[in-house]
């Protein structure tokens, strides 16, 4: 087989990447309270314990709410940016759209403290869920744009013109022709933004108010030694959820490309 040393390497690297994660279900279903080998036997008691914890449900509900709002806001802004990107140039276009992508090369802590200073110090407002939503949107918009750029770029620009030529207004052409064709990209963007928001810890730690998000709650648990298996169980659930959403996002992305008749060779980035 051609390039077999590379193949071996690739598999090893994948093993390195997935290794730690595979431990999650192993210890989540492990009866023992200590995270170490040898294993103690199968048990679902950690999951049951999670089910009982109210604080966990609160944090989860919080996280889901914030993630949902973030996903919508980031995708909306992403649609604007990607659509603008696919149109004619204007002075400052590269700068404007490039600036929006800046969070990709900034440390999250810088964004988090900067927003903290503005919200608390400059504006004197309390931290709350909406402060987290705003911050999460800032860091997810670049991903949304990356995904939607692909969706918009694969469109034939004549399609909207054809729709207008046949009598539709500009908005009608967008609604009836462009939107259905970029819809898979929009779904992808919603899901990816949702996952990023759900998983984010740094910004949440700085900007949540009285209600912690799920990662913040988990972080609090790490202080307590007997809570470790709970974290394993929690992690298992989150990983499963994330992977499911990712698979759905990828399926939509591929379907979108297939609809426009384009073969895909790369990921969304």
């Amino acid at each position: 087989m051609k390039g077999w040393p590379f193949r071996v390497y690739a598999v090893l690297l994948l093993a390195f990447l997935y290794g730690p994660i595979l431990l999650l279900p192993i210890f989540a279903f492990n009866d023992g309270a200590i995270i170490a080998f040898p294993l103690s036997g199968f048990s679902t008691r950690w999951f049951e314990a999670l089910w009982e914890t109210d604080a966990l449900w609160q944090a989860a509900r919080n996280s889901l709410l914030i993630a949902a709002f973030t996903a919508v806001l980031a995708t909306l802004l992403g649609v604007f940016a990607a659509r603008s990107g696919s149109m004619a140039g204007f002075r400052g276009k590269g700068l404007m759209l490039g600036f929006v992508m800046l969070p990709l090369v900034l440390p999250e802590i810088v964004i988090a403290v900067a927003l903290l200073v503005v919200i608390r110090q400059a504006l004197g407002l309390d931290l709350a869920n909406w402060t987290v939503v705003l911050a999460h949107t800032v860091i997810t918009v670049p991903f949304s744009i990356a995904i939607l750029n692909g969706a918009f770029a694969s469109l034939d620009p004549s399609l909207e013109e054809a729709a207008m030529d046949l009598g539709e207004s500009r908005w009608g052409a967008f609604r009836l022709v462009t939107l259905p064709l970029v819809a898979p990209g929009i779904v992808s963007s919603l899901l990816i933004s949702f996952i990023i928001s759900l998983d984010d810890f740094v910004i949440a730690q700085f900007l949540t108010g009285a209600n912690p998000t799920l990662p913040v709650y988990i972080y609090g648990l790490t202080r307590f030694v007997d809570a470790l298996p709970l974290i394993m169980a929690m992690g298992t659930i989150l990983v499963t959820l994330s992977i499911t959403l990712l698979v759905i996002a990828e399926w939509f992305r591929r379907r979108g490309l297939a609809r426009a008749g384009v073969a895909s060779t790369g990921g969304f980035l």
Binding site: E108, L116, I195, T265
Partner: protein, 296 residues
């Protein structure tokens, strides 16, 4: 040639406004704000707005941050070292993987591989770091497994609570960010260039050095920037990996904000760190450009 009138450009500009204004309000303005606050001082709960360089003096002269003393290094050099090592390790690990997917995987399967390597990135960051603690710890997975297999008698202490463990954990998190830009750059290389090089008598390895590697450099540069800069700001991994003993710049900054309540000093520290990192990144870019130009 597709000519488009000014009106489409104008409409494009209007559409770009919402995301741009959002970024200005929620990114540019806050960044200006921390620059502003870094010139103030805080004593207890009260912030004194009179402009002062006290924070910068503290940041630039204190042995904690840059200069160190007889027994330990300054935190900033250590942090830069960690970030540089992580960048090096991730790029070295990523390149063969990116090369594999670009050159040895059938086109129909490429996105599958990319998808596979991206999945770990999307799982809870916090849980992942915590898992490294579990893997590397004194009673952790590696030690108990090795002891169980009879390969060692005493648990290895050197696996956790040192810089190496930080580097391993961070590399694990960030290697995906290295694979993707390098992959994109490799994909863009015109395969016929490589065939031409071999046709002109170069061995496969020489072709790689003289043609593939230089052309992949923009991808490597992108990878370095996406890794080096954000890693400097990562405080969660060092906190969990180093335990009570060690601190990196990111931890010190975080402490000023969430524990010690000296936001002006924290901002000054963040700005100093970002400037140093920015200068290093720029130097790197310039060196790369010079190197690429010298090769023609």
């Amino acid at each position: 040639m597709r000519l488009r009138g000014q009106s489409e450009g104008a409409r494009a500009a209007v559409l770009a406004l919402p995301p741009f204004l959002y970024a200005v309000l929620l990114l540019a303005v806050p960044l200006v704000a921390i620059v502003a606050i870094s010139f103030m001082t805080q004593d207890g709960l009260v912030i004194d707005p009179t402009p002062s360089l006290a924070n910068y003096r503290e940041a630039l002269t204190s042995p904690i941050y840059i200069w160190g003393n007889a027994t330990r290094w300054g935190t900033l050099p250590v942090s830069l070292y960690v970030a540089a090592m992580v960048t090096l390790v991730t790029v070295v690990l990523a390149f063969p993987m990116a090369y594999f997917i670009s050159f040895y995987v059938a086109p129909s399967r490429k996105s599958l591989w990319l998808f596979l390597i991206t999945i770990p990135f999307w799982t809870s960051y916090l849980v992942r770091i915590f898992l490294w603690k579990v893997v590397l710890g004194f009673n952790g997975v590696i030690n108990t497994a090795l002891m169980g297999l009879g390969l060692i008698r005493e648990p290895l202490e050197a696996l956790l609570y040192n810089l190496s463990s930080v580097i391993v954990a961070l590399s694990h998190s960030y290697v995906v960010f290295a694979i993707l830009p390098i992959y994109v750059a490799l994909e863009k290389i015109d395969r016929s260039l490589l065939e031409a090089s071999q046709d002109l008598g170069e061995t496969a390895f020489a072709t790689f050095l003289r043609v593939t590697l230089p052309l992949a450099m923009p991808g490597v540069v992108g990878a370095v920037l996406i890794i080096f800069i954000p890693v400097i700001g990562d405080y969660v991994t060092p906190e969990l990996m180093l335990g009570a003993g060690g601190r990196l710049m990111s931890n010190l900054i975080q402490a000023q904000f969430l524990g010690l309540n000296n936001w002006p000093l924290g901002s000054a520290l963040a700005i100093v760190t970002m400037i140093v990192v920015g200068v290093i990144a720029l130097l790197f870019l310039l060196l790369m450009r010079r190197w690429l130009r010298a090769r023609g």
